[in-house]
């Protein structure tokens, strides 16, 4: 047993978990081409969830702030991007790929800018008065989520909204007899790019070093002469912007969005950060990939269990590792 543990640790430890899940699913599913399609869908979904969850995890890690309003940024990002795309539908249908890309870029930029501005406002007005008080944090950020959902209802109405996709992201391509949806490949690549950028920032820059140290021990970083509270505003804005961006990509993936989106994603996002271990970006990625894969495999194998599968996953992982798979060192 001990040698097995050693070998597993050597090759990546808990990071191998998604591989194990994928192998198990391969055996259970039987049909290789379905398995590949589901795996790619799961990875794409995982990457989008990662974008939505990463900010929440960092914010909790750095300041011990539990923000239940986080998913408001996701839904606003989705609706803002969808509106921009609707407004630019002429560009989207165009054969000129440059117009396609421009429309997509503007939609994402609008969501991201909104996320940053709203994050700044949210931190200053709602979070700052309740630092160090978890109960009030939960109450006030939940309240903010309800207000945000009502605002979306008021602005966009309750009916589901169709999301226009740019032409070049429609359809799918074939590799052998495996079909891959273009949008899924795009979502996966975009999420991966953001992860790499975040990883490099955290591990190769001075700001990243301060954030990692602050996640471990905020007081000590302050005692070394750095204003964590000022850094925190920046992290909060970044996290909100990533959530809005995640929402924007998600909107294009679902192609039909409703104001209930935020509430639904909130549960998923919390499961992910708890599975992954709060405060760690690697853990969040791992948790998101696990949840994405599970949702797709279970959805195919036992559709009735799809909803509960992630809850069960969370409980099993927490029984095994109460701090999550890859918690930041505390």
């Amino acid at each position: 047993m001990e040698t097995i543990t050693k070998i597993v640790t050597r090759f990546g430890g808990v990071s191998l978990l998604p591989v194990a899940v994928a192998l198990l699913a391969f055996v259970l599913i039987g049909a290789p081409s379905s398995w590949v399609t589901l795996t790619i869908a799961g990875l794409a979904m995982g990457m989008m969830i990662f974008l939505m969850a990463s900010g929440l995890s960092l914010v909790f890690g750095l300041m011990d702030v539990m923000n239940f309003g986080h998913s408001a940024f996701i839904s606003f990002g989705a609706f803002i991007a969808a509106s921009v795309l609707a407004g630019l539908s002429g560009w989207l249908g165009s054969d000129l790929i440059i117009l396609n890309i421009a429309a997509l870029f503007l939609a994402f930029a609008a969501a991201i800018l909104f996320g940053m501005a709203a994050g700044w406002f949210f931190e200053a007005v709602i979070i700052k008065p309740v630092y160090k008080d978890h109960l009030r944090q939960i109450l006030i950020t939940m309240g903010a989520l309800i207000v945000a959902e009502q605002m979306i209802l008021a602005l966009w109405g309750g009916a589901p909204m169709t999301v226009h996709r740019p032409q070049f992201l429609e359809g799918s391509f074939l590799i052998g007899d495996i079909t891959i949806e273009v949008y899924r490949a795009f979502a996966f690549m975009l999420g991966l790019a953001v992860y790499v950028a975040l990883y490099l920032t955290l591990n190769r820059t001075r700001i990243g070093l301060l954030i990692r140290a602050g996640v471990e021990n905020r007081e000590m970083v302050e005692a070394l002469g750095f204003r964590i509270d000022r850094l925190f505003v920046g992290v909060f804005m970044l996290g909100s912007a990533l959530a809005a961006m995640g929402g924007a990509i998600w909107a294009g993936y679902e192609t039909l969005i409703t104001p209930a989106l935020g509430g639904e994603m909130m549960i998923v996002v919390f499961i992910v950060v708890i599975i992954g271990g709060l405060g760690s970006i690697e853990g969040t990625l791992l948790g998101a990939i696990m949840v994405g894969l599970m949702a797709n495999y279970v959805g195919y194998l036992a559709p009735k269990l799809a909803l509960t599968s992630n809850m069960i996953l969370m409980m099993v992982i927490l029984l095994w590792r109460p701090n999550g798979l890859k918690p930041a060192v505390k």
């Binding site: 021990n217 005692a223 070394l224 204003r227």
Partner: protein
């Protein structure tokens, strides 16, 4: 001249009044020792100086300036560093990262680094290791090294010998002696032998008040006073 004076400092933690009246003059240079029983308020005193607890009354004067209302980060930038009781090491960071973080500009001054390697050779050996993997003594060395990686005026050190083996305690004493040539050290200790070998001036805190202050030589000679102020009973 004093580098630090505490004037009738009071500190509450939540609704508990922990420090009632702490009045202290720490002279410039050398090691000043603050003694006291468990729970007397030593850690709270250091944390109040560092701005990690805000004093509710009284003042903290550092080189003529009242710092009692300042933010911890600003206090640090005035030249005060802190070696907390739990060492405050960043376990997920390497030894190098722990130290480079503590530099003001993100760059090492080679002369200072050489001096730190000389004081604590283990840190050079484990330079690229994550700090959680160090031994207790090595973590303590890292914490002290971090406090002197930039030139500082005053270092607050909270029970650096706690849980350390005698050989490491001796090495730590040598290091403090060396550091005290250029910097004032305010040292909180329970290990009286260690404190006696380093301190020139001293004070005893008891139940949130300064119960005695004077020279270490006088205090070391007065056994009844030691018993009264430091023994477990009473």
């Amino acid at each position: 001249m004093s580098i630090l004076s505490l004037k009738a400092m009071k500190t509450d933690i939540g609704q508990y009044a922990v420090l009632h009246d702490v009045t202290l003059e720490v002279p410039q240079g050398g090691v000043f020792v603050l003694l006291g029983r468990n729970g007397a308020g030593k850690t709270t005193t250091l944390r109040s100086i560092m701005g990690l607890w805000k004093p509710s009354a009284g003042s903290v004067i550092f080189r003529g300036q009242d710092i009692s209302e300042m933010h911890t980060a600003e206090i640090a930038r005035l030249g005060i560093s802190f070696v907390p009781e739990d060492m405050g090491i960043f376990g997920g960071l390497t030894v190098e990262e722990n130290l480079i973080l503590a530099t003001a500009k993100g760059q090492f001054d080679n002369a200072r680094l050489a001096r730190i390697y000389e004081l604590f050779p283990a840190l050079e050996t484990f330079w690229t290791k994550q700090a959680w993997s160090l031994s207790g003594g090595q973590k303590q060395m890292l914490s002290v090294a971090r406090a002197i990686i930039e030139p500082r005026e005053l270092i607050l050190v909270d029970e650096p010998t706690k849980g350390l083996a005698p050989a490491i305690i001796d090495a730590m004493a040598d290091a403090f002696r060396e550091i005290a040539q250029t910097t004032t050290i305010l040292l909180v200790e329970q290990n009286f032998e260690f404190a006696k070998s380093l301190g020139r001036d001293m004070a005893v805190i008891d139940d949130g008040r300064i119960a005695h202050s004077g020279s270490m030589a006088d205090f070391a000679a007065d056994k009844p006073l030691q018993d009264r102020l430091l023994s477990l009973s009473a």
